[in-house]
Symmetry: C2
């Protein structure tokens, strides 16, 4: 059979960076010979895993009816009323946001939630503006009607010999005084892939310009509080009615439950509710059921502060030491400031081969990373003469230490070989 | 905020039958005052629930690493390799199908799988042909670019005073000698809403015509073997490379896990794999993990035969008695042959009010059903003068007996009142 794909079918069923990444990830499971430093699989945090086991056992032992309902009941198209109520209460108590159950939609993972949101508001003629490229690989191919993202090159702050940080280039942004030209402004924070955390000052300025342009701002908080809270400073999320905040249970150790959350104005939530009924019928219940008591008791705050953040921060610090030890200090590589998320973003300035080629050479040696070029999209003409796009790698920095150390050593060797030509 | 929806956004975010149904269902949970005979929530079958509890406990007690991986790992975009391998093996042993792992895609529920499949192959100018209308309410609004289904009126076989059965009207079908006019032919079997099981002879004739027209045939087997097996006869599913078979874990008591399965030619599976990576990243793991051992041991066959089918068959028989007892025998109502699924399909011939009005009256009395008109779509001009579309109700026949009996009594009363004018 040779299926006849529609136009959107062709857009969806072709090759994509996210497909390559997810295939690498899935195929690496159980392969002890591979250093899996690609993908975005959360680390296995023993304290977190113990909590999920304990919670499941509690359901089995003391709330059999709750366990049965979790598996056997369809809830509403945007989630379980008890979970939504608990989350709204927690967010009100913790951040004092003006938020109620009507501002929350649960989705089958953030990827699916943003797929529907972006296709419902954006199209090639009215794209989403990404103010700081590189941005998340998973957005690149979401557009059913074709590419629906326009991205801006960042300001690059060089720090010392081997460090750097991206910033929003407000001069290049082109948002001011352009009502409704863009479907939305969107950024991940912490940024996937670079581990950047856009500063409070940058975000405030961006939000102000977005509001003035009557354009909602989407903040993809997949690595930020209140769920995993993988931010290595005291920066907290913000929300107002012009903001669509995307949250995830995945990085909280629950990707297998496929649970994402959108926090937004009620008009957006109502649209997502209708879309979810048609495209998904209902949400998965298990992640919601496991997490609800942690929200009701606010225990989630300590868990993020005392378990999740220290775990990722310690792994990142250790990996940072290993990487700097392994890399030749005389070569012009730079590491992006790792301010959150679980990734290192390595820039090999002037590298004679492309990151795609470097990815292949690393794969041949059993080290999987994600080649950086996939995170540069939507640049149009402004990207044509920018070699930086082909000089970066995204490296998972929170895998088990022995894998990380071995992988980073091989990366350092291959980078040195590539520079040597 | 007033979101600007794109064209497909408008199609997705507007009112729909499936949204009304899912909202009714979600909002009825925990409301003991309601007789919930709408929705498609599976019945709570004690033996099945005990099996899922036991399996989860086994993971916690004897395979902690497996439990942790189930929650914390992303698998491939179309499922867990171990589940797919186990399912392929089971299907080969049980049905002798020429099938391998490359013919299987797991999706986040059948609704999501068919949403992507139909949008990838169909559009308003090249629709999916539904050979027997009424068909599943959840297809009606799937088309991102507008209505993408063309449906045919059925042949109606009257049986005695109060029974009937639909059949495919091959004279009206218009499939013969029309290569590629339709994106696919699709039917649910058992049919949702009518409980009809299209006969083996009908299906064989349909498959032959579809193959001759170079058109794939989608058989939505959400209620059929090998998962729930809610078919009250020995009819078994069939599959060949021109067939796309859709299966579901939902009716096996696991809707909260959102797990659907597509069995198809490898070319279709590869397309779904790419689409799933973009739109969903990965599949939910929990349903797959719970069911895998039942497939490996083939125990699933007995479970369907000895537990699931007898349970639904006995509830349907009991409800059939209650309904016939409650309904006025002098009124011209008819019940569709309940050959499978969990639904009764009640046709009130010549009813002076519409099924939409009857639904509202029943809701006011605390009985939720699904008004039949939502299941009639894609008929175009052929539906214009067909009162039958507004004379039917879909009634869940497998809810707890006290709810069913009370609800059926009230339905009988309201139907009698409506006929009396």
């Amino acid at each position: 059979m040779n299926p006849h794909w529609t136009e959107s079918g062709q857009n969806l069923t072709g090759p994509s960076g996210i497909l390559e990444l997810m295939d690498d990830l899935g195929n690496a499971i159980g392969r002890d010979d591979l250093c899996m430093l690609g993908g975005g699989n959360p680390a296995a945090i023993p304290e977190l895993q113990a909590i999920w086991r304990e919670r499941m056992r509690e359901l089995l032992d003391h709330d059999t009816a709750g366990f049965d309902r979790m598996l056997n009941n369809y809830d509403t198209p945007i989630g379980r009323p008890a979970f939504i109520e608990a989350l709204a209460g927690h967010l009100r108590r913790r951040y004092d946001w003006d938020i109620g159950p009507g501002n929350i939609a649960v989705t089958n993972g953030t990827q699916n939630g943003l797929f529907h949101l972006f296709n419902a508001i954006a199209e090639p003629g009215r794209p989403v503006l990404l103010p700081l490229c590189p941005e998340y690989i998973g957005y690149a191919d979401l557009g059913l009607r074709g590419p629906s993202f326009v991205a801006r090159r960042p300001a690059i702050e060089l720090r010392g010999d081997h460090d750097f940080k991206y910033g929003i280039d407000f001069d290049a942004l082109g948002l001011k005084g352009k009502p409704n030209e863009f479907a939305a402004v969107c950024l991940s924070r912490p940024t996937n892939p670079s581990g950047n955390v856009v500063t409070n000052a940058e975000l405030a300025r961006l939000s102000e310009q977005a509001a003035a342009a009557e354009t909602p701002i989407v903040v993809d908080n997949a690595y930020g509080a209140p769920f995993p809270g993988i931010v290595f400073s005291d920066i907290e999320p913000t929300w107002d009615h012009n903001t669509i905040l995307s949250l995830s249970l995945s990085k909280f150790g629950l990707p297998g439950t496929r649970t994402g959350i959108l926090i937004a104005d009620e008009s957006v939530i109502q649209g997502m509710r209708a879309a979810n009924a048609i495209a998904n019928l209902a949400t998965g219940n298990i992640g919601q059921e496991l997490v609800t008591p942690l929200l009701e008791s606010d225990r989630i705050t300590e868990l993020c502060r005392d378990v999740v953040r220290p775990f990722y921060e310690s792994r990142a610090k250790q990996a940072d030491l290993w990487l700097r030890e392994a890399m030749d200090p005389n070569l012009p590589w730079r590491l992006h400031a790792c301010e959150g998320s679980m990734f290192f973003w390595l820039w090999c300035d002037g590298l004679p081969i492309s990151s795609a080629e470097l990815y292949q050479r690393l794969k041949a040696r059993g080290v999987l990373v994600v080649p950086g070029h996939y995170f540069f999209f939507g640049l149009g003409a402004s990207g044509a003469d920018w070699p930086h796009q082909h000089q970066c790698l995204r490296i998972h920095a929170a895998m088990p230490p022995d894998i990380t150390q071995r992988g980073l050593g091989i990366i350092a060797e291959e980078v040195a070989k590539a520079y040597a030509g």
